[in-house]
Assembly symmetry: C2
Homo-oligomer: 205 residues x 2
Amino acid sequence: MTRQPGSDNRQKAAEHFSVPNADIQLWPDWLPRSNSDALQQQLEHQLRWAQDSIMMFGKPVKIPRQQVWMGEPHCHYRYSGMTFSPQPWHPLVKQLTEEISDFTGYHFNCVLLNLYQDGQQHMGWHADNEPELGIDPVIASLSLGSTRRFELKHRHQPWQLAWDLPSGSLLLMAGACQQHWLHRLPKQSRITQSRVSLTFRYIAA
Amino acid sequence: MTRQPGSDNRQKAAEHFSVPNADIQLWPDWLPRSNSDALQQQLEHQLRWAQDSIMMFGKPVKIPRQQVWMGEPHCHYRYSGMTFSPQPWHPLVKQLTEEISDFTGYHFNCVLLNLYQDGQQHMGWHADNEPELGIDPVIASLSLGSTRRFELKHRHQPWQLAWDLPSGSLLLMAGACQQHWLHRLPKQSRITQSRVSLTFRYIAA
């Protein structure tokens, strides 16, 4: 169990952010702090992290973070000109995927894990709108380690939202969020500790 | 009429931002642009603007903007150690107050108008939580002139929202917004044109 007996937050109400074309839910302490820190250590040391390249302006460029793509064998994932085949399940990641599917009521079968070594590592504005995710995909994101800022901005309107995501927090993006909003994890140069995020997705067989 | 016949936005749906402890509604083009610019000129030239002082750390400090406090004769307003007595209604402001009361369904009887000459002028983090406004006051804010950024941050959680408010836009803050969130109009040094805002309030007799 990744969530301690007696500290079950399943009954805990979500914080709701219902904004035009997106429905965001946040559980700031979905995992108790001691669990999330231990889990981060295990994942950071036991997974096969890679600083992959993506295509930008026709050239391969190393991403400013490390990642692991994991899930059911059919879950191939194309983005920014690259195709990623899933690594087989790590038991902890598989268990979390099942727990979060159960908790949220959305079925997830693959996970993009990101490792940000420090505040210099980041992810730019993008949406999780790859065709294999289907229309209006629901994405769940579990944060472990350093608190990092997570920002959302509307594609066509001058509107922004931002949250600091602490270790153990779970964020759910639903509605037409990926169609109408972009999100990013900006640089925060003062941060010296690492963060791991697990972003849960579903790809039809 | 401040709103042209044939361009009535009363039927137009609001953009809703429903977040923990606050309910924000935005009508980006409540007034047509030509009306809002003309209205700004009239208010900027016809009102008796003053760069009032407020008390900070026991000393009077000039506010980094100009203001006018206007409304029903009983609407005295205390904040930051100063008491403001209302100027009598300017007919345009009275008419807008009635239109916005009618449009939103909330009764307003006084208005704090702010004039920001350029992007150097601003307003710091605060809430409209003076006792005379009552519990969970509803505040409507009409923007005229330069588009300025308007930010909201939760008092106790690391959550923020931001909108660029164009000329003619109407923003409504409701729910427990003034109790749990702060708002501000930050400096934007690149902006060289002025903005007038009218913030509509209600004070019981």
